[in-house]
Every structure is written in C-alpha cells, then in structure tokens.
C-alpha cells in the first residue's frame, strides 16, 4: 500500500513542479508587459503577490496599457470578471483542502487554474492535496520571481510574443486539461465550451466569454448528458488508501 501511496504522491509532486516551471515562463511575459503598460516594478510585484491570478493580471495591465489610469474602473472590472473563475474553483477544491480556517484562507489565495487542475487530476484525496500544495508553492515562487525579472529586464526582452511566451501559456493550459479528456462527457464539455468562448469573444467584454462557456458544464452536468461510466469524483473510501 505504501508503494502505491508514494508513487501517487510523487506523481503529484512532479506534476506540480512542472506546472510551476511553465507559469514561471509566462511570469516573465507578465512582468515585461506590466512595466510597458506603465506600472512600476513595485506595482508589478504587488499584483503578482496579492492578486496572484495570471488571467486577471494580464487583463488589468492590458486595459491600463491602452486606457491609462482613466480606464481604472474597466481595469478593475476586467480583473474581477476573470477572477470569478477562481471562486468557482474554490467550491470544488475546498472539500479537498479541509482543515482549520487559516489553512483555507491560505489555500484560497493560491486557488487558480494551475492548482485546481493538478489537484483534481490526481487519483486519491491524499495525492490531490499533495498536488494542490506542491503546485501552489512552485507556481507562487516561480510566478513572483519571474514577474520581478520580467519587470527588470522588460526593455532588453522586447515583445514577449517574439519569444513565443503567449503560446507557452496556451500550451501549458492544454497540458492541465489533457488528463481530463478521457471520457465522452468531459470531451464533449471541453469542445463545446471552447466553441462558445470563441463565438462570444468578439461580442462580450474580455473574461465574460470564458465564464459564459461554463454554462455548458452546468447544462451537461445537470442533465448528465454523455454520462461517464465511472464516477467523476474520487470516492471517499479511497481516502488514505
């Protein structure tokens, strides 16, 4: 049993470290773009420390870059709209974390795409916890360090797109999604959500298309269309197995 336990645990650790490394790569891109948008190095770093959610950070600096401080309300709204996603993840991840309130506050701070995906991709509750905290630590350290690096060397770096850093972010998210695409139901939801988000991108504010695409999950999950043959959640009796 302990062999199984350590194998699943170390797989979760490896996944977390790999995802942290990838996040570090596009942290450089965030830092460089933030400074180019008009933030100073301190503001760039405070956002990575406190907000700590890449999508919202990119949205915020994107609005500031084009509209300046005058576009402040729009910048805050864009960041918040993209941040709603993390609240939804929290509902899913909270039962995995458990523990006292301070542990939940710490977990909430680092509840993002990366930690949620790595955690929920693991087979047992124990490896889900290991996956969550390893990814949280690796991503937090990597993202904050490279945000600073990007802010400092932004001028020398030039356009982060020239280095393919935007494509690196998209590829990393495919990697987070990949282990889930084994059942008809999840494949159907992933495909339909992608189509909905693309169709809505030209007509809605940035951030909203992704949220509306979440309706696909509510409908398919609610009616249990394309039903899976195996249960979607880790059965509780496997805890500590």
């Amino acid at each position: 049993m302990s062999g199984v336990r350590s194998r699943e645990g170390s797989a979760a650790v490896r996944a977390g470290l790999a995802v942290g490394f990838a996040a570090a790569a596009y942290g450089v891109s965030y830092g460089a773009l933030a400074v180019a948008a008009g933030l100073d190095v301190w503001q760039t770093c405070v956002m990575s420390l406190l907000m700590f959610t890449g999508g919202s950070q990119f949205a915020f600096i994107g609005v500031i870059a084009t509209g300046g401080v005058a576009a402040g309300p729009t910048a805050i709204a864009s960041a918040a709209i993209l941040g709603i996603r993390n609240g939804i993840y929290g509902v899913r991840v909270a039962p995995i974390i458990g523990g006292p309130w301070w542990k939940k506050v710490a977990a909430a701070w680092v509840t993002i795409d990366e930690t949620t995906a790595v955690s929920t991709n693991q087979p047992t509750k124990r490896s889900q916890r290991i996956g969550f905290w390893t990814t949280a630590a690796a991503t937090f350290v990597g993202w904050n360090l490279t945000s600073l690096v990007g802010a400092l060397i932004g001028d020398a770096l030039g356009d982060p797109r020239a280095w393919g850093l935007d494509a690196a972010a998209a590829a990393a998210f495919v990697g987070l999604l990949w282990p889930r695409l084994r059942q008809v139901q999840t494949i159907a939801v992933a495909s339909a959500a992608a189509v909905v988000a693309i169709v809505l991108t030209p007509v809605l504010l940035p951030g909203l298309p992704v949220l509306v695409a979440g309706v696909v999950a509510v409908v398919v999950g609610g009616f249990n269309w394309f039903a899976n043959s195996e249960p979607p959640l880790v059965p509780l009796e496997r805890e500590g197995a």
Binding site: I64, A108, T111, R180, T201, P202, V216
Partner: protein, 103 residues
Amino acid sequence: MTLWLLVIIASLACLALKLAGYLVPPSVLDKPAPSRIANLLTVALLSALVAVQTLGSGTGLQFDARVPALVVAVVLFALRVPFVIVVVLAAVTAALIRLSGWG
C-alpha cells in the same frame, strides 16, 4: 498614487472572489449533480481559456503563430511527451514562426 489604488482594489477584489468559493458549504457537493457540475466546470473553464488564449486578441479573433504552436502541443501531449518539454517546444514553434515574419 492613483495607479497604486487601482492595483490594490483590483487585487483585493480577486482575493475576495477566491475566498468566496470556500464559503460555499462542502455538503453542496454531496449530491451527484452539483458534484458533476463542479467537476465539469473546471474542464469547461480551462478549455474556454485555451481557446481564447489561442485565438483571442482583445475583443477580436486573430489566427496567428499561436495556432500552429497549439497544434504542436496537442500532438506532443498525445505522444506523452513531458509537460515542460511540450511547453518549451510550443514557445519555440511560435517564436520561430514569428521570426520568419508571419503571425
């Protein structure tokens, strides 16, 4: 100072949203339908994000070097190439295509 204020407000708003999820009682997920939906939501949101990251450009759509880079990533993940190598090769693909003057 004003930009500082914006940075702080936006950051606190995002933190508050993260905390809100943890205030939902875990017993909500005891029933099959809500637990199924919560699980599928992570899949739907991630997939929608990938789509927008690959084709989105502000409030428009743009077909550029990100698309072939994503195709490379999908093929490599299907071949079970390790995560970090796939991410690096996807970036290299996009960078080389842009170096050649397209996308």
